[in-house]
Amino acid sequence: MSTDGRNTTEGGSPAAAPASPKPYWIGIGLMVMGAVWLYNGFGLPQGARYAAVGPGLFVTLAGGGLLILGAILVLQIWRGESFEAQDAEDADGSTKMDKRAFLTALVAVALPIVTMGPLGMPFTATLSFVLVANAFGSRRWLLDLICGLILACAAWFLFKQLGLQLGRFFPPLGV
């Protein structure tokens, strides 16, 4: 996974807005990820009999690169490198992080991992729709539920027509 190392430290530090002044955890996370890649790379053949380069070399290079870059980043942070949040069309990088909104949106993204298989795409998408709308400040639950349901069902039928494998409509009922 790409961001293994980061997640272990994800919990607290990014909460400080606009950006915590010394995000050492990013550098350390990168170094951890680099170490995992390096360890795996060393377990693979670095050379091959006729090919000169084996399947392990690139993995080792990627891991080594991340390890070094993580260390450089830690050094830069120590020297006082500044990190400013990016501005987006509807977001202000300099405002404080809204934790409740962030976590609600995060639940909406995580929900499909659990419900997509057993409860189907239209149901899951409707729930996620309501959650994201709520994270952005909408309090009209019923309207969001109806909008989400219509969008999810329409998308399910449309993409099904296009040949996409989206699973059953609502598996608990066997449809």
Partner: protein, 495 residues
Amino acid sequence: METFELLLHGFSVALQPTNLMWALVGSVLGTAIGILPGIGPALTIALLLPVTTALAPTSAFIMFAGILYGAMYGGSTTSILLNTPGEAGSMMTALEGNKMARAGRGAAALATAAIGSFVAGTIATLALTFAAPAVAELAFYFKPTDYFAITALAFCSVAVVMGTSRTRGFVSLFLGIAIGVIGIDTMTGQPRLTFGNMQLLRGIALTVVLVSLFAVGEILYVASRYRSTPGVMAPIKGQLWMTKQDFARSWKPWLRGTAIGFPMGALPGSGSEIPTMLSYTLERKLTKYPEEFGKGAIEGVAGPEAANNAAAAGILVPLLTLGLPTSATAAVLLAAFQNYGLQPGPFLFTSNPALIWGLIASLYVGNVMLLVLNLPLVGIWVQLLRIPRPQLYAGILVFAMIGVWGLAGSWVDLTIMLVVGLGGYVMRVYDFPIAPVLIGLILGPMAETQLRTALAAGQGNPMVLVSTPLSAILITLAVLLLALPILLKRLRANA
């Protein structure tokens, strides 16, 4: 005049009613997503990749090209009327365009942007028509060593140019390369970094990473720092057409913008931000009305808009001729080619001329469509901005999840979406560039294959990597790109 004949053949493909319909669908979609926040051309094409299973390649690419060009047109509308650039390339347009709109000259600003986009798009497509076959012809002689050198240079320039610092650019690039090595090694069949998970054997798809970084990361980020007071829209006032003086002040910036945008778009890493910025700076220097700059000078809209569209055509040159993506959108287009089992490059010009020339011809057609769609109908397009943000972002997540789930119906992909999405959030909070991740992900495996093929041919001697004149030059350039800024800094410090 072989090129001309091939182009005519391309027009016979592009003008078929079905393909015209797909060009229209692409142009409409492109304009819409250019206007809407939170969704850009790369994400849209990635979400539409599943349609490649149902559509013929020519129709699909004609639609994708419409999206690519359309997003450039749409982005300028929001920049001018709302001062919120929908795409990175429209940032410069907002500087002068919005001032013009506030001063009651919005119609003229929209017109010079749309006509400038049309002029630039057409000239750049013309340049593409003649440059692409020539580069493809050259590329026939490229060896694996040369291809490796090209990817190495692309890596360096992407990491150095994009983002606020070289370290952060390289972090993004290496994250992409690291994700790219996951899965079965194509040359030996050995599993790499799969952690015993069967589903990771096929690797992590570009679509999953792209959707997670661009859609999920953006949704999490905007939700956490949402600015709920929408920008004030400047009313579209003034004549719907430009005055004689507006034309006189616009045509040279259009041409200069095109001349800057097209070659820069073809270079890895420059994207659309740098050419538009260069064009703006140039127009500011050359203008006869310097006092108007910063208060709504039409040259400051005309030049960057032309550069923006020309750059969009420019990215197609390395993509079609060498299979080399130079931006996030180009990386997704390459993934679309791979979905069809096609490898862009010199051989595609000979093996599938109907596709390549149909695509190029459709760019001319799409440009005309976009001009007609955008100029008179701008009032209708801006209505899209009335979609309430909560429901808009919720809808984007629904499509993102369909795109990821539809790939293989796997919860592993959904978990990757969550983790990489969180990564995308962190990258926005701490200002890491996102495009290098995608370039690393898609070019990494290509670089590895070329490196291994080249070294195998050279019996393991690393000198083989600089054995041809082209590879030697390109590797030198890559090293210079890395070392020069450090050396200059040292020299300056010593001076």
